[in-house]
């Protein structure tokens, strides 16, 4: 058989999942160069997004990550947490195959589970002493700025100590990391946004502190609290201009007691909970048009759960008749039929309530070079010991015992 021309290999490789391509790097030098080339990485990503092929559910557990093929939930792969430090690693965001990991506000990384490439962010100290912050007051967001083709990580902290330099409210620090620059930058708030932090916001569920990416912005909810904070606010971080602002939404929902922000099909959505009864999902159809907020559907509380504390829509089915929902945690991943209003559980083996879920794209983004610190460690181990005495002894002198 004649050798296969590279342009056909290219076409075949574009159809493979990222995990297979990592292996194919070892086939030959042309294959290696192809798979590592930025052009191929882009084309491959584009093909994945266009065809919806190789989409995965990412299960985020306390000790490991698990990927499940969306089309064949019996195909499961376990990935040990690359940022393990004896504690509980948080996972936030998922875009184009890349996710965010953190052990603490100063131990953050971005990671591609398909290629297992990890990029550890440089440490950026906090403005506030550690005793002034706790987990509930930290917000994270993994974003992608399409204007500069750059991944960004936003870290927001609110000190629980009132006062500070501005002398009102609870001081907040916002810093944003740019992958292209590999550095952090401080974000300065406009007064109109700063005054929001007169109140103290905390998220009992750490997940609520994770930013939601849509329309080149990261969104978080600053929830209302009965008797303390009158209204819900949605803040949004513009990834192109690095500015923090506010997103308008229907007035009726300003005093909703339990609300979350999410994203469905690239549009911002709001989930309003009536925890023992149902969840309403509103969608912002046109980003800059507040009038385009539409109540999309109502999900009845499934019988298998006592109450709905947290719900996220993940993705539409291929024929768009159903939506995949996560209710409370990954144990309750269900397809919601928009017409019949029925909920069908996705049975994933060995998936208990300690897992949370997100959708993951199979991509080569960030490249295939694995873990650079691991490579350095291997290199260090291989350095020959330059001990002169050893050398002397090894040359024909044998110890007679």
């Amino acid at each position: 058989m004649a050798e296969c021309p590279m342009d056909l290999i290219n076409e075949l490789f574009l159809r493979l999942a990222a995990t297979t391509l990592v292996r194919c790097r070892a086939v030959s030098k042309p294959c290696f160069s192809l798979i590592d080339s930025p052009e191929f990485i882009s084309s491959h990503l584009r093909r994945r997004l266009e065809t919806g092929q190789h989409l995965m559910i990412l299960l985020r557990g306390p000790r490991l990550l698990r990927t499940v093929e969306l089309d064949s939930p019996e195909n499961v792969t376990d990935i040990p947490h690359p940022l393990q430090a004896g504690g509980f690693t948080e996972v936030f965001g998922s875009f184009n195959g890349v996710i965010g990991l953190c052990n603490s506000p100063v131990d953050i990384a971005i990671f591609n589970p398909s290629t297992r490439k990890i990029h550890r962010l440089p440490i950026k100290p906090l403005d506030f002493p550690e005793r002034h912050i706790t987990r509930e007051y930290v917000f994270y967001g993994l974003g992608y700025d399409s204007v500069s083709d750059d991944f960004k990580v936003v870290r927001m902290l609110q000190s629980k100590l009132k006062g500070g330099k501005e002398n009102f409210g609870y001081p907040v620090e916002i810093k944003v990391f740019s992958l292209k620059k590999n550095s952090w930058k401080r974000v300065y708030l406009m007064f109109e946004v700063q005054i929001l932090f007169i109140y103290f916001y905390y998220h009992l569920l750490p997940r609520r502190g994770y930013g939601v990416l849509a329309n080149n912005h990261l969104h978080w909810i600053l929830p209302r609290r009965q008797g303390i904070i009158a209204f819900n606010t949605i803040i949004r971080f513009d990834l192109a201009s690095d500015d923090l602002g506010v997103l308008s939404f229907p007035q009726d929902l300003y005093t909703e007691d339990d609300m979350d922000v999410g994203v469905l099909d690239g549009c911002v959505c709001l989930m309003c909970y009536d925890e023992f009864s149902h969840v309403d999902v509103w969608v912002l159809k046109e980003y800059e048009d507040v009038k385009s907020w539409t109540k999309l559907f109502r999900v009845p509380k499934p019988e298998s759960v006592e109450s709905v504390d947290f719900m996220r829509p993940l993705i539409y089915s291929k024929d768009r008749s159903k939506i995949l929902l996560e209710i409370n945690n990954a144990k309750n991943l269900m397809w919601f039929d928009l017409e019949s209003k029925e909920l069908t559980t996705v049975g994933i083996k060995a998936c208990d309530s300690s897992f949370t879920a997100d959708i993951l794209v199979s991509s080569l983004v960030l490249g295939c070079k694995g873990d650079p610190t691991e490579a350095q460690r291997r290199k260090d181990q291989m350095v020959p010991k330059s001990n002169k005495r050893d050398g002397f002894l090894s040359k024909g002198f044998k110890l007679k015992l």
């Binding site: 058989m1 004649a2 050798e3 296969c4 021309p5 056909l8 290999i9 076409e11 075949l12 159809r15 493979l16 999942a17 995990t19 297979t20 990592v22 292996r23 194919c24 790097r25 070892a26 086939v27 030959s28 030098k29 294959c31 290696f32 290629t115 297992r116 295939c368 070079k369 694995g370 490579a375 291997r378």
Partner: protein, 180 residues
């Protein structure tokens, strides 16, 4: 792409007649393979091959077209597939027809060995027959997805031009995916 067979009933303007004669599906075209085998096929089927469709548009298609790069056995398989796919059923409108065709496709490729599928890909690429190229490529992609680098080399007859040290370094970079 396959031409529409509808002709307007009632009014029959000169233009419509001219168009009808150009796209009349009953024209036959003769394809000759590199090893001299001849295949007479409907124009609609021949149009699935973009290079032929372009030749017909540009009026350089005679009645007999030589296909120099493809042998008869492969060409016959390609024509078999093209005939089945002259009209592609709409997934939304005719689910039943789509399912039947998918099933036929699966059986079609099941009977072929990898080397033949490979030659079909090369030929479909040459003829610019997108539908078959996509289908055959996907079949091969599915086949190699769990293969080791050695197996992939063998399948595509690719030379291993790495030094042992170079290959070792690449395997170490992603040790988790190379078993053993």
């Amino acid at each position: 792409m396959s031409s529409s067979k509808k002709s307007s009933d009632g009014k029959s303007s000169e233009i419509e007649e001219a168009v009808a004669s150009l796209t009349m599906p009953f024209n036959k075209i003769l394809l000759t393979s590199s090893d001299g085998e001849s295949f007479e096929i409907d124009e609609a089927v021949a149009r699935k091959f973009q290079i032929i469709a372009h030749m017909i548009e540009d009026d350089c298609a005679g009645k007999a077209i030589p296909i120099d790069n493809v042998t008869g056995d492969i060409l016959s398989k390609i024509i078999e597939y093209a005939k089945k796919h002259v009209v592609e059923p709409d997934e939304d409108e005719d689910e039943e027809a789509k399912k039947k065709l998918d099933s036929w496709d699966a059986k079609f490729v099941e009977k072929l060995d990898l080397e033949t599928i490979f030659k079909i890909i090369l030929a479909a690429n040459y003829l610019n027959f997108e539908g078959l190229l996509g289908f055959a490529s996907q079949t091969v992609a599915d086949y190699i997805k769990d293969k080791t680098p050695e197996e992939v080399r063998e399948i595509f007859n690719i030379e291993n031009d790495f030094t042992p040290e170079e290959e070792e370094a690449i395997r170490k970079e992603n040790a988790w995916t190379f078993n053993g």
